[in-house]
């Protein structure tokens, strides 16, 4: 294997958060961001073709090694404790923040029709949502948005990867609701 590709693999492996090609490029003198991006994507292909227990994904603006999902039950057994999971209230609140950001609490509450304080607080604590600042209107309400961690947790490269909101979809014929 080419030296650069090896090093890129090692760097992504040791990084705690998704590692961007840009950041890696800062370390090298004789490799461009483009070379690195190419090496990393080749690696991702290698892992996919190999079909092992690991995969290399592009997420949150960088690259990260992850386990395949079929291994999840065993990993949970190894680690013990409950798997991380979000309640419906949290997921709905998160969805509104993700699609409507920068967004005010009052707007989230208007959309969901309920008080969202507790859900919002939980999302802030989980570092999925962040405080972006204040809006320059009377009362200067706090503006919320999603974090990089949000992209990482949901395996998104960036916000544009979120599926389009099916806002005007007909409701009739939509059966089998509820979270799966």
């Amino acid at each position: 294997m080419e030296e650069l590709k090896k090093t890129v693999e090692a760097l992504i492996f040791v990084s705690e958060t998704p590692l961007s090609a840009k950041k890696m490029a800062e370390l090298f003198e004789d490799a461009s961001e483009r070379d690195i991006l190419e090496a990393a994507r080749e690696l991702a292909d290698d892992y996919e073709r190999r079909g092992g227990g690991l995969c290399l994904v592009e997420v949150g603006g960088g690259f990260q090694f992850r386990t395949i999902d079929s291994a999840a039950p065993w990993i949970q057994k190894l680690r013990g404790g409950k798997p991380a999971s979000l309640s419906r209230a949290a997921l709905e609140t998160l969805a509104v923040v993700a699609y409507r950001q920068p967004v005010l609490k009052s707007e989230i509450e208007r959309v969901r029709g309920v008080d969202v304080s507790a859900a919002l607080k939980g999302l802030l604590e989980k570092n999925l949502v962040r405080i972006m600042g204040r809006k320059d209107v009377a009362g200067r309400p706090i503006i919320y948005g999603t974090t990089k961690r949000f992209l990482e947790v949901f395996g998104l490269r960036d916000l544009s990867e979120l599926p389009t909101l099916r806002e005007m979809k007909e409701l009739t014929g939509e059966e089998g609701e509820g979270l799966e």
Partner: protein, 269 residues
């Protein structure tokens, strides 16, 4: 709550809807995420076209649902009652005779509610989509650093920190104080004052002395004007700044009462 539980409950709910009993209502209660969710459920259950909701029927079902919850002494969030009132209002408007001429221009009384329902429905689906993704630490996992305590490197950049972490830290510190000290009223205003104090200090440090007018004249904004004045008072109270006036009607001049630390760029940045 375990994953998958909501779906399970909803299925069960659909099955038992026609035979209400205490346990079922209890189950139903935490299935819904609010009044809109309940309304969507009723619409779906009755196989109604959302663009043409039979308001009487839905209102009746919605209210009898709330009654059932109340009779069980279950906590009923105010939001449920607000929607009940909205439904009754729409119902009464639908009963009014509509004159032919304004018919075209006047919007269907249900239009707002339909828009709200459709919007909520879209986000509900988006939430389901999110939940279906491979979620980190639930479906997929990454390596964990063996021991990564926040060790402070004396130099080097600081990681970006969320504002929430800072507030939490402050909350934690304050929670250890007697309530008299808590001063929960730290408002946006006092933060604006801090900001202005800092700016006035910088200005004084740069120029050594300023006239009152120069200081106030910096910004035209009335709010800033007030903050500037308050900042000045605060600085004088702290005995960092002093104001002198030669005589009545003379210009008021502000001075730094003390030398600021050297000319170190570090704290001016």
């Amino acid at each position: 709550m375990k994953e998958g539980v909501p779906r399970l409950r909803l299925t069960r709910l659909a099955r038992v809807w026609s035979v209400p009993c205490i346990m079922d209502y209890r189950i139903k209660l935490d299935v819904f995420e609010g009044p809109l969710d309940l309304l969507l459920y009723l619409i779906r259950k009755n196989e109604i076209d959302i663009y043409d909701i039979p308001i009487s029927l839905i209102t009746e079902q919605y209210i009898s649902y709330l009654d059932a919850m109340k009779s069980l002494n279950l906590d009923l969030a105010g939001e449920y009652l607000v929607l009940a009132a909205t439904l009754l209002h729409i119902k009464s408007r639908m009963l009014l005779p509509v004159s032919e001429e304004i018919d075209e221009e006047e919007e269907d009384p249900r239009a707002d509610l339909v828009r709200q329902l459709l919007e909520y429905q879209a986000f509900k689906e988006a939430a389901i989509d999110l939940d279906r993704r491979k979620m980190l630490d639930r479906d997929v996992f990454t390596r964990r650093e063996a021991c990564d305590h926040a060790v402070e490197a004396p130099e080097g950049p600081v990681r970006e920190i969320g504002v929430f972490e800072l507030v939490k830290a402050f909350q934690k510190v304050m929670s250890g104080l007697p309530t008299a000290d808590l001063n929960l009223d730290i408002s946006a205003d006092s933060m604006s004052l801090s900001q202005r104090i800092s700016e006035v200090l910088d200005l004084l440090n740069e120029r050594k002395s300023l006239t009152f007018e120069e200081l106030l004249g910096e910004e035209g904004d009335r709010r800033v004007l007030v903050y500037t004045f308050l900042a000045l008072l605060e600085l004088m109270k702290m005995r960092v700044a002093r104001a002198f006036q030669q005589g009545p009607y003379e210009t008021i001049r502000i001075w730094l009462a003390v030398e600021l630390e050297g000319g170190d760029a570090d704290w001016k940045n």
